[in-house]
């Protein structure tokens, strides 16, 4: 049971959060300009890093804010959390 530090509410059990996968995958500014392959990469390809991994969480059962975290996928240790818009 991870203890995830919501940047607003503080540490809460993992149960209160929804996982949002890799962070910093921006919606393309002009999807129509992308090839099918490029669009497919945006849709489906995400990093699957072994080690520190920037990812998104939402405190769904709490303040409902999305935020970012860097978590080591080998140890599950959360190295830092930061709000959307803050630098990685």
């Amino acid at each position: 049971m991870l203890l995830i530090r919501c940047p607003w509410c503080g540490p809460r059990d993992e149960t209160e959060f929804h996982y949002g996968g890799a962070a910093h995958v921006a919606y393309p500014s002009d999807p129509a300009a992308l090839s099918d392959e490029e669009w497919g990469r945006y849709l489906f390809v995400r990093e699957n890093l072994k080690g520190p991994f920037a990812e998104r969480w939402c405190h769904t059962a709490g303040c409902r804010r999305w935020f970012n975290a860097v978590r080591d996928t080998l140890t599950n240790e959360i190295l830092r959390v930061y709000r959307i818009g803050e630098p990685a």
Binding site: W8, C9, G10, R12, D13, T15, E16, A61, G62, C63, R64, R65
Partner: protein, 193 residues
């Protein structure tokens, strides 16, 4: 054929008579006025709303502010729940502030309130609430959106107005989950009969 309002209103837990318990009181506090506010935490809009309410919006996460029957619960960095006594005209007053970056939604019927109080209140809540409710960590005046078992609740540590030393909590729960919450509390409380 319309009947007067008073006889047609029915709370989600109408008819609930909790089993008597040792060291725990359970009760529904129905029909409390609730208004959901969304606006930037700082700026003229927040100031204006604070003036209207007579209390500034709390900006510290998990805190409440209040005066008299009115309390304002921090729900998120740009979200508050204003709670007042049943029938209060909060929604109408705040609706005047709507627009220009302020969202005001009357949610009075969205949730009902369950009181859990008494010397063993914390023990009961600990069966389903993962928060540390020790008075040093969650003193009177704190609030949190969290889970009690499988129901989302807004949990508020309140001064129940009794002896003062006795722990008391308000559990604000969505109307459709209220029966589940009551059933769950009653079942957890079998230990304390």
């Amino acid at each position: 054929m319309a009947e007067p309002l008073e006889t047609t209103i029915r709370s989600p837990l109408a008819g609930w008579t909790p089993h008597p318990l040792t060291g725990i009181r359970l009760a529904e506090l129905p029909f409390r006025t609730q208004v959901n506010l969304r606006l930037p935490a700082k700026g003229p809009a927040a100031d204006a709303v604070g003036l209207e309410l007579g209390v500034p919006l709390p900006v510290e996460p998990g805190t409440t502010a209040g005066s008299g029957e009115l309390s304002v619960l921090w729900l998120g960095p740009d979200e508050w729940l204003v709670v007042g006594s049943p029938g209060a005209d909060l929604a109408a007053r705040l609706a005047a502030r709507r627009g220009a970056g302020v969202s005001v939604v009357d949610t009075s019927a969205l949730r009902t309130t369950v009181l859990v109080a008494g010397p063993r209140a914390r023990d009961l809540l600990a069966h389903g609430c993962a928060l540390d409710l020790h008075p040093t960590r969650f003193p009177t005046g704190r609030c949190a959106q969290t889970l009690l078992a499988h129901a989302q609740i807004v949990l508020v540590a309140v001064d129940d107005g009794t002896s003062g030393a006795e722990p008391a909590y308000h559990l604000l729960v969505r109307s459709s989950f209220a029966n589940y919450l009551a059933d769950w509390l009653e079942d957890a409380a079998v230990e304390y009969r």
